[in-house]
């Protein structure tokens, strides 16, 4: 089945999210739509799926104009979508989620899930999905939940499958599995629209690539194009994908972690006897699949974890037992894993977020009174320094894009005297341009003689930035390897395989 979009336009207030977009997806093709965050990819797909009404334009399925006003119209036309945030009810079983909206009932209106169970098993077996219809969604790994979404689309006869940033939440292994599944589906005759900003994945599976920038189609490319070409089209200027790691001098040990054990409320060890040290002018990356204890280690650096044993020595003095504030003021810059949840207060102004850590100290406050003019002046200064793109520093920080939010966090954390930068998943969900900025900034800190502790699940990021790489697996550090390691070796270590 082919899908064609003609002159789709949509504006939200003054923002033109889609500007007369034309697009054609052929039968049995994997068509990648590449664009930065905020380029209008998701809006376009929500229009196709009937969740957003376009201002102008038409949607053609097999060259026939379709009137898609509701998701149910899209489904009826053979268009299925796997959303970035899964559309699954966590407390329902797989089968219940799949029948939702298409329920069959028998005697006295009693729901009949048997037919659904059989169809789920059939699809699951066909593609080796390993999905059990009676499992509860909330107990399933993210990768499996995604397969449930794919099964749902297939069961309702989707001939065009939209995958919206499907790899954003997946581990490297799960990503590889998904790419394989996409190829299988394509061989089966399904057309796939693959929305992403990850160049490696596009090159791996796409047949054709359409690049969208600021709501417009700016070009098409074949998967043979180099990553640099694609990135330049996407961002609109030359970008440096692999940052230049210059020569630098490594100094004394800044951070020494010994016997670090972190337990949960029940007493189970989430992190078990972890030892490492970071020297001045060095990036130590802690790599690992999400959920192997890295988040807890990162949070323990500024005492955000309870039930911590062992020692964390920063420049000769113990960190454990200090308050969060004392840890920060001892010279730790902390970029938390979730900038929205832990890094920023969304409803407060950008200027206020920039001085959250020092708001009660001079020059931002005199006694109990804040000094708004000083705060504003400081915000304007940091805006320039960190290239934060904003309308006004008085706007709520939630109005910013992901990249600019992260710049606010960095601007705040790096404006104190810093000995150690702890950055947890610093580029998660960011576009290429922002990733470039964050990477450069991290390396600048390293070159200025600070110790950097980087937590990342992204192989490419770890390989690009780290001087040494520690791999965490099930709460323990499996190995610490030099940066020359290959992606394959690193991938194996992250999966818990230690080779002789």
């Amino acid at each position: 089945m082919s899908l064609e979009l003609r002159g789709i336009s949509k504006s939200f207030g003054a923002l033109l999210a889609n500007d007369s977009i034309d697009l054609r997806v052929e039968t049995g093709e994997i068509h990648a739509i590449l664009g930065e965050n905020g380029a209008g990819k998701s809006t376009l797909m929500n229009i196709v799926y009937g969740l957003v009404a376009p201002d102008k334009g038409e949607i053609l399925v097999d060259d026939v104009v379709k009137n898609i006003k509701e998701p149910s119209d899209a489904l009826a036309s053979g268009i299925g979508m796997v959303h970035q945030h899964f559309m699954l009810v966590p407390v329902f079983t797989v089968a219940e989620n799949i029948v939702l909206g298409h329920e069959k009932s028998g005697f006295a209106g009693i729901l009949d899930l048997n037919e659904a169970r059989e169809r789920i098993k059939k699809v699951s077996d066909q593609f080796n999905f390993d999905v059990n219809p009676d499992d509860l969604i909330e107990g399933l790994p993210v990768g499996v939940q995604q397969r449930v979404e794919i099964i749902r689309a297939l069961i309702y006869d989707a001939k065009v499958l939209i995958l919206d940033e499907p790899t954003a939440v997946l581990t490297p292994q799960e990503t590889d599995d998904l790419l394989k599944i996409m190829k299988q589906l394509k061989e089966d005759g399904t057309s796939i629209i693959f929305i992403t900003h990850k160049l490696r994945e596009v090159k791996a599976v796409a047949d054709r690539i359409t690049i969208i920038r600021r709501g417009k189609v700016v070009g098409t490319a074949s998967p043979d194009a180099s990553q640099n070409e694609l990135a330049s089209l996407m961002v609109g200027r030359e970008v440096e994908l692999a940052p230049d790691k210059g020569a630098h001098a490594i100094g004394d040990v800044v951070l020494k972690v010994e016997g670090l054990t972190i337990r949960d409320a029940v007493g189970r060890a989430l992190v078990n006897n972890v030892n490492f040290e970071v020297k001045a002018g060095e990036v130590l990356a802690i790599a690992g699949v999400q959920g192997n204890g890295q988040s807890e280690v990162a949070r323990s650096m500024v005492n955000l974890e309870e039930h911590v044993e062992g020692s964390i020595i920063l420049d000769g003095s113990e960190v454990i037992g200090k308050s969060v504030r004392e840890s920060l003021h001892a010279g730790i810059a902390f970029v938390p894993e979730s900038r929205e949840l832990d890094g920023l207060i969304g409803s407060m102004a950008i200027a206020e977020n920039l001085i959250l850590d020092l708001h009660d100290l001079p020059p931002y406050a005199k006694g109990i009174q804040m000094s708004p003019s000083v705060v504003l002046a400081e915000a304007e200064k940091r805006k320039e320094e960190f290239d934060i793109r904003l309308q006004s520093v008085n706007d709520p920080v939630s109005s910013l894009s992901g990249g600019n939010k992260q710049k606010v966090v960095l601007a705040r954390e790096l404006s104190r005297p810093v000995k150690l930068l702890v950055a947890s998943q610093p580029t998660r969900g960011l576009d290429v341009g922002s990733i470039e900025f964050v990477h450069k900034r991290i390396l600048e800190e390293r070159d200025a003689g600070r110790a950097v502790l980087l937590f990342s699940t992204e192989l490419d990021e770890v390989l690009a930035l780290a001087d040494r790489i520690a791999v965490m697996y099930r709460g323990e550090i499996l190995a610490i390897v030099p940066s020359g390691v290959t992606a394959q070796e690193l991938g194996l270590l992250m999966a818990g395989v230690v080779h002789a």
């Binding site: 969740l51 945030h85 559309m87 966590p90 407390v91 329902f92 939702l100 909206g101 009693i110």
Partner: protein, 419 residues
């Protein structure tokens, strides 16, 4: 030893508390009680078949007996827990044993109409059950219903007045759900269509109904009492044969039509919520409305409908105060029962049977305190009144179990906003 899940640790903690209480009640009510006084339990109310007329036993012996039963039940429950089996029956017997041990001590030298105690408990639970069913309906689909109290009161007022004007209990029963529905429709319009904060809105609606009924009561019902406020009441209907079953019969099957309607409402809601298409969709819009929308379910329409039905259920419950009870409407006669229904809903973890059990427990505690107050006991009966609320606080703070509301409860749904 293998690590226990949070739910298992919680159950173990509950068991632990039950065992301590069992031992304590055996000691305090049993061993340390002076002997010599008898307690008498009465088991007949009417002309049902008699299994046992009454039971006279030494208070100390009874307390000891029930205490030991509860200790044994606790031990069995613990063994079952260790073996990984369900502990429902054993812990039920254990708690009942503790209760009886206490009762035998408190009523030393007195007569306890046992069947009457339970029958009264059921009657006091009726508005709570209707209210909590209304809560289940609306909150399971994602709309917080603080306005249960207002819906009960509106139902009570309108059914009382209509029954009085028309001299028809039937018409009184018919209009009560409509009155409740009117209030809940207001809730639905403002909460769903205008995304007003549902807690504040519910509270305001309660105050509104209090105000309107107070005003009309003072200006209309008191001055013209004989026409406006002297309605007939429903008679109890004995279900043939069933009512004759000893103990159970008079409690369950010698009630007014409202109570029988209540049985139907409970079974129907429980069945529909977990077995039908409507139930699946209702739970889906309460948990993850965006997901429901993406598969073509009209989220806000379903919520609107459920909130309206909830109002009807609560309104019918309101009729219990007037045509189902004393006939005449009285100022603010629901007296906070709507809020207790809300507590039962939370205590029952948003499930129909959980809410019914909690409501029955609250009704029992309420009736126990009045019975103990009448016969005169060593402890102040007001203390008993505290128990249900204490239990709710404990339940909500997560001691008995982590109470998890439907994930989208209280969150208005607008397409395009992230969930």
């Amino acid at each position: 030893m293998k690590a226990l899940s949070a739910a298992e640790r919680r159950r173990r903690r509950t068991l632990f508390v039950m065992a301590i209480l069992a031992v304590l009640s055996t000691l305090i009510f049993g061993l340390f009680q002076k002997s010599g006084q008898n307690v008498t339990y009465g088991f007949t109310l009417d002309k049902e078949w008699v299994l046992i007329q009454q039971w006279v036993i030494s208070s100390r012996t009874a307390s000891l007996l029930f205490g030991v039963i509860s200790v044994l039940a606790s031990a069995v429950a613990f063994l079952q827990f260790r073996a990984g089996r369900t502990i429902g029956l054993a812990s039920g017997i254990g708690s009942a044993g503790i209760m009886m041990s206490f009762l035998s001590w408190a009523a030393a030298g007195k007569f306890i109409p046992f069947t009457g105690l339970l029958q009264g408990a059921l009657l006091l639970s009726v508005p709570l059950i209707f209210g909590s069913m209304a809560g289940v309906l609306s909150e399971r689909s994602g709309v917080v219903n603080i306005a249960i109290e207002g819906q009960l009161l509106a139902g009570a007022f309108v059914s009382g007045v209509v029954a009085s004007l028309t001299h028809s209990t039937f018409l009184g029963l018919v209009v009560a759900p409509l009155a409740g529905c009117l209030i809940s429709t207001l809730l639905a319009v403002f909460a769903i269509n205008f995304s007003i904060d549902q807690i504040i809105l519910g509270f305001v609606l309660n105050v509104l109904v209090y105000g309107i009924t107070d005003f009309l009561y003072k200006k209309l019902l008191i001055p013209y009492q004989s026409t406006w406020n002297s309605g007939p009441t429903l008679a109890a209907i004995k279900i043939p044969l069933l009512w004759k079953i000893p103990i159970v019969g008079p409690i369950l099957f010698d009630q007014s039509i409202i109570v029988y309607l209540m049985y139907g409402v409970i079974f129907f809601i429980n069945f529909s919520l977990f077995k039908t298409k409507w139930g699946l969709r209702t739970r889906a819009v309460g948990e993850h409305p965006t997901a429901a929308d993406s598969v073509g379910i009209k989220v806000n329409r379903l919520r609107f409908m459920n909130v309206m039905i909830a109002g009807m259920v609560a309104g019918l419950g309101g009729a219990y105060f007037t045509v189902g009870g004393v006939g005449a409407f009285n100022k603010e006669m629901t007296a906070g029962k709507g809020f207790i229904a809300l507590a039962a809903l939370i205590f029952g973890r948003w499930t129909p049977w959980g809410a019914v059990s909690a409501a029955l427990l609250f009704g029992f505690a309420d009736n126990l305190q009045s019975v103990l107050g009448i016969i005169g006991t060593p402890i102040p009966s007001e203390f008993m009144l505290m128990v249900p609320y204490l239990a709710t606080v404990i339940a909500v703070t997560g001691f008995v179990g982590r109470v998890r509301a439907p994930a989208a409860d209280g969150t208005p749904y607008k397409r395009g906003e992230s969930h």
